[in-house]
């Protein structure tokens, strides 16, 4: 693969991933949010695949297959089933409204782009030039977790954060050793399953998964 094809493909995939993060901020229909997460997972897999083909190494390609299966298929399917079962279809009252949260997301991204390059020089090839976008996705994930109050949207924010970190890992190091990637993927799947069960218990204890109701424990 030529260098220009590599940087175009990487740019396209990272751009898609960043746009998906904004779709999560923008849409209030939960199923649209899950679709955005699935597309983003596929974009992360494309990044890993591109780098693997470029470097002629097998590990990133194998990781790409795993990432696609987990983040573009299995977890989104789980979340979609979860939404159908819970009959909660929309994010009803986010902490700040949608235009304001898009604005906040934009400012966060600008901030990351302005500062990330100065903090540490992570290299100058086309892969590491895309790292600020990946860090921006991490920050957008944290933003979603702070301002959204439904169990599903919290998980969506967490998955944005995870995808952002996975992108940083692929872009800077072409992925960690497969053993660690595998362990991390298993942990992620289990965390999502655990949160799914806990959300079910939340519905039976509180009647909904509105996190504003979690007020029992305080000092």
């Amino acid at each position: 693969m030529t260098d220009s094809a590599l940087s175009q493909l990487l740019g396209l995939a990272i751009g898609t991933a960043l746009v998906c993060a904004y779709v999560v901020l923008w849409r209030s229909r939960l199923i649209s949010i899950v679709r955005a997460i699935a597309v983003q997972g596929a974009a992360v897999a494309v990044v890993a695949l591109t780098l693997g083909l470029h470097e002629h190494s097998v590990e990133p390609v194998a990781a790409a297959v795993g990432v696609f299966a987990l983040k573009a298929v299995i977890i989104p399917m789980l979340l979609a089933r979860w939404i159908r079962q819970s009959e909660e279809l929309r994010e009803v009252d986010p902490l700040i409204n949608i235009p304001a949260s898009l604005l906040a997301g934009g400012l966060l991204t600008l901030f990351v782009y302005a500062t990330a390059r100065q903090v540490a020089n992570l290299g100058s090839d086309s892969a590491s030039r895309a790292v600020p976008a990946a860090i921006a996705i991490v920050m957008l994930g944290l933003l979603v977790m702070t301002i959204r109050r439904k169990a599903v949207t919290q998980v969506a924010g967490f998955l944005l954060l995870e995808n952002g970190i996975a992108l940083v890992a692929f872009l800077t190091t072409s992925g960690l050793p497969l053993l660690i990637e595998l362990g991390g993927a298993l942990d992620l799947l289990l965390v999502v399953l655990v949160l799914h069960v806990l959300a079910g218990r939340m519905v039976s204890a509180f009647g909904a998964t509105d996190l504003n109701q979690l007020q029992e424990l305080r000092d």
Binding site: E162, E216, D219
Partner: protein, 487 residues
């Protein structure tokens, strides 16, 4: 010895699988006790060997047990011994009172042992990636244990716990990625996640990248270690979990997470010099002491009281590690052991008090010493041990840490830490006095604490007192372990 080092995590796992297969019975509960005793013995044997012969390395460097690892294995073994011996009667009572079902008890037995196995893996690997996977796995294993009771409060606590701990640990993953990146650029083909190799190539790691990694690692593992300002999940999770699980989470999981942080500190210090991590750890240590002291003053719930006391003790451990001299680090490690014993006993006793009074409100528990003399004595002595009253070992370790702070010319910070410790001391003493002394009020059950539980807790307190007077053969292991962090 490589076999022992590699397969020790299988011991609790087998005990857990036995409970998973045969359900919660007297025999499977005792298997867990035997397993914990096995882990403790394994820690002793490994400790004896590594002190003389250096680290045991196996499985292509995946497993590496040095003095520090062996010391942590010992702590894990001791705390799980206390917790599992107490759990025998605890779960029986929960079943009898209808607080849990046989299915819930089976799950409990399985998850606790998986949890212990994950902690053992985290401390006996050389690979920081595996450490990370194991720490994340402890969150998953304990999630349902925190929510064991399924009340509104338990659901709330476990949700917050899983979300905050997972986000924190994800950020730690970013730090590990950055360290891997730094090693990849150190020289061709040098990419590694092995702690010993990272340490050996520290001179070649990029300082700017390492500094970023340091921040991520402190936030990430600091969250799991319960250090302020990342501690917000801790009082909820530790107060809602069943008593034997609170004992393990407070007594050892915090220390295991801090151990992983300390391992990273060794590498980061070798790259950046000691000042960077020292300043950050002193800051989070003092903040933890401050948060704990301020919330202990007007605390109304005795399980939360114990949880905040854990934040206080972890703050002190962070403070000791930050100072970085051999005396300070030895003090911090010694403090971990003392805290593991005293906090496990205190949480187990709090479980009995909860059975007895049906409430976790301090104001509703009065005259415990008069009504339940044996239980009251154990709880009172555990509180005194936590307060660092001699002869209990936390006294000796607190003195060591504060003395080391003076020797390192950190007088101002030392005075501040001592003042915060004093506030916490007075608050816990005051709350404990209200619970233990005075005339009993309210109705009480005729429940008797099983003899095995009381004996275990009493022996543990005795051990804590002996350790405060003399370390005996542990002395060499502790010195060797502290040399890993303070070379």
């Amino acid at each position: 010895m490589t076999v022992l080092a590699s397969y020790l995590p299988l011991v609790p796992l087998l005990a857990g699988i036995a409970t998973g297969l045969f359900g919660w019975r007297r025999s499977t509960a005792l298997a867990a006790v035997v397993g914990s005793a096995g882990v403790t013995t394994g820690g002793v044997i490994l400790g004896t060997i590594v002190v003389d012969r250096g680290a045991v390395i196996a499985a292509g460097g995946l497993v590496r047990v040095d003095a520090l690892s062996a010391y942590l294995i010992l702590i894990i073994g001791v705390a799980s011994l206390i917790s599992s011996a107490y759990a025998v009667g605890y779960i029986d009572t929960e079943l009898r009172l209808g607080h849990t079902t046989p299915q819930g008890a089976r799950l409990y037995g399985l998850l606790v042992q998986i949890f212990i196995a994950c902690m053992l893996i985290a401390v006996s690997t050389d690979n920081i990636g595996v450490m990370w996977v194991a720490v994340e796995a402890t969150t998953i294993a304990t999630a349902f244990l925190v929510g064991h009771r399924r009340t509104r409060a338990a659901v709330e606590a476990s949700w917050k716990y899983v979300v905050i701990a997972s986000v924190g640990v994800s950020i730690a993953f970013l730090g590990i990625v950055l360290l891997y990146f730094a090693s990849r650029h150190a020289s061709v083909g040098a990419a590694t996640l092995r702690w010993s190799q990272l340490l050996a190539m520290a001179g070649k790691l990029d300082p700017a990248v390492t500094r970023l990694a340091a921040g991520a690692v402190i936030i990430g593992f600091g969250t799991k270690a319960g250090l302020a300002p990342f501690h917000t999940w801790l009082p909820d999770a530790h107060s809602q979990a069943p008593a034997p699980v609170s004992a393990l989470m407070s007594g050892v999981l915090l220390s295991v997470s801090f151990y992983v942080l300390a391992r990273h500190k060794v590498v980061i210090d070798a790259v950046l010099g000691p000042a960077y991590m020292r300043n950050m750890l002193i800051a989070v240590g003092l903040l933890s002491l401050g948060v704990a002291a301020s919330l202990l003053i007007a605390q109304r719930d005795y399980k939360r009281l114990l949880a905040y006391s854990s934040i206080e003790h972890m703050g002190l451990v962070a403070f000791g590690t930050a100072i970085g001299s051999p005396l300070a680090v030895a003090g911090a490690l010694y403090h971990m052991l003392g805290h593991a014993i005293a906090k496990s006993v205190a949480f187990c006793a709090s479980g009995e008090i909860l059975f007895d009074s049906g409430t976790t409100r301090i104001a509703d528990v009065r005259g415990l010493l008069k009504r339940r003399p044996a239980l009251g004595t154990v709880f009172g002595l555990a509180l005194l041990a936590l307060l660092g009253i001699p002869p209990f070992s936390l006294f000796a370790s607190e003195v060591a840490i504060l003395r080391a702070a003076g020797a390192a010319h950190l007088e101002l910070v030392m005075v501040l830490a001592a003042a915060l410790l004093l506030v916490a001391f007075v608050s816990i003493l005051q709350h404990g006095r209200q619970m233990l002394l005075g005339e009993p009020t309210g109705g009480h059950t005729d429940r008797r604490t099983p003899a095995i539980a009381l004996t275990t807790l009493a022996i543990a307190l005795g051990a804590s007192a002996v350790l405060g007077v003399t370390l005996g053969p542990l002395d060499r292991l502790l010195t060797a372990a502290s040399r890993v962090v303070a070379p």
